[in-house]
Symmetry: C2
DNA sequence: TGAATAGTGTCTGTGAGACAATATTAT
DNA sequence: ATAATATTGTCTCACAGACACTATTCA
């Protein structure tokens, strides 16, 4: 083996092709909350936690639904790729984006060795000026979960996607599970796993960060905010407790929301600078 | 473009070489805690939070220190690669291992496009039967940190590695920072960033999981356990508060530790099954 | 005996869970 | 008037911070 004196010399002769080639994709969990108008004029709009999926029109997994994603370019950072894909799907910028996990099972793509780094993006649907693109659709998320199973139902109004995941405790000190898909008809790749673990991350972050405000419009009522928490966490919260927790994070504005057949509520805003 | 009728047909013709080739490595943050004997016979051994680094003997970054790591093989899961590397470095199995983050800056390796997925491994040094391998060495970690900077000093007894990182708030709702290396002589690649963000993850997990027990021997005193928390978190804890917090996680055994010039202490053990 | 660590008691203030009570609107 | 939501009050209990106190060992 040739002895090199300097790093420059070494790099000049370097043959990158001696290493195994991987492809790299970036897949994005785009989460939001959708409103459903109620018939009863007094009632608040019902909220759903929702995720954006796209329908594949090429092999592999043709005609299955999958997460928006794409191949990372050779001169592009992974996060840049995620931003690019996000821009294409949503047509808006300045979206909350966070890396979640990298999936590297050798068999996860039937074509070749593809590594996928998943990202989570949160958006406020009110910012989506245009209709969502061609093959994309928002699905409301419903989750039934216990210690051993997670059953997910996604519903976009026309189509229902169901899948089931088995959980086995893999490591006790940090309560981490191994997930296995045990039922899945309509989703491509290992995306059921990606979705379930992404949602779990979001739930955790809801509890100890201000992440929820990335899904809220500038002005919102505390009732709406509480609905968003409830629909993502999948449980009811007590009003006074909820208000205590978020009272330092928001500030009241002089705007009011009227129109429901009930007491109007103050509009609040995220208070980003506080101590 | 040819129209395919089935997925099999499509895959048969598929040309993987049309996609950009990436190389993939797995780099591991191997953390532990080391004891330093004190001259004063009464005093407890001083503990240090420590990390395992290896010295590079080839280009690029020849003679610099770096995280144990290596290329992922084409038929190997990323986590399998991490386990393989871990086995080589420590010669023990059943080590706590967790994926942290994937680094994909196009310029992070001068040779070619290399993606690196970092893992965190925690070990109890008492389990290390053999001496650590050839070019590897444990460094005690000392961190000085404020809102804008993180200064790290690593010391293995012979050599001191210092580096400095600038932090700028990137996203306010979840308090995430952008890290930039502003001083670094002795570490290869972007490993200063990998180390700093990995340590930050470990600190967080200490607070809300039982992760610490992966760095402890089977039997330990509460004093030792508290020392480990203190040395990783970088702050003193109050005894009664600490004992309250961990009392449900451990169980007292009938063993005692004697020998110091002070009251003997009970030996405890991690209570993994509880409700 | 005294230095050093082990272990416990207790006071105080904060904050969460739970439930009750009051306020306000459009039909 | 009423259904529905908005908002606040308050009681209790659990727990964290802070400090003090007691216990035990070995050179």
């Amino acid at each position: 083996m040739k002895e090199y004196k300097t790093e420059e010399e070494f790099l000049r002769d370097y043959d990158a092709s001696q290493f195994d080639p991987f492809s790299l994709t970036s897949d994005i969990l785009i989460f939001s909350v959708s409103d459903e108008l109620q018939e009863n004029y007094r009632k608040l709009n019902k909220k759903y936690f929702s995720i954006l999926l796209v329908k594949r029109n090429t092999y592999p997994y043709k005609d299955k639904w999958c997460l928006p994603g794409g191949f990372v370019k050779i001169d592009e950072d992974i996060e840049e790729a995620a931003e690019r894909i996000l821009k294409v799907e949503t047509n808006i910028e300045d979206i909350y984006l966070e890396q979640l996990y990298t999936y590297g099972n050798p068999k996860r793509d039937p074509r070749m060795r593809v590594i996928s780094t998943s990202y989570m993006a949160l958006i406020d649907k009110n910012r989506l000026n245009v209709d969502v693109t061609k093959n994309a659709s928002w699905f409301n998320v419903m989750i039934l979960e216990d210690e051993r199973r997670t059953d997910v139902t996604l519903d976009n109004g026309n189509e229902i996607i169901r899948f089931k995941i088995k959980k086995t405790l893999k490591e006790k000190t940090t309560d981490r599970y191994k997930y296995e898909i045990i039922e899945n008809e309509k989703l491509a790749f290992d995306h059921p796993l990606v979705i379930v673990s992404g949602i779990s991350r979001l739930k955790n972050k809801l509890e100890y960060t201000d992440i929820v405000f990335n899904m809220m419009p500038t002005y919102f009522t505390l009732g709406e905010l509480q609905q968003v928490y409830e629909v993502i966490l999948g449980k009811k919260l007590l009003d006074p407790a909820f208000r205590r927790i978020i009272k330092d994070k928001v500030e009241k504005t002089d705007k009011m929301q009227t129109g429901g057949g009930h007491r109007p509520s103050a509009l609040f805003r995220y208070k980003s600078f506080r101590e």
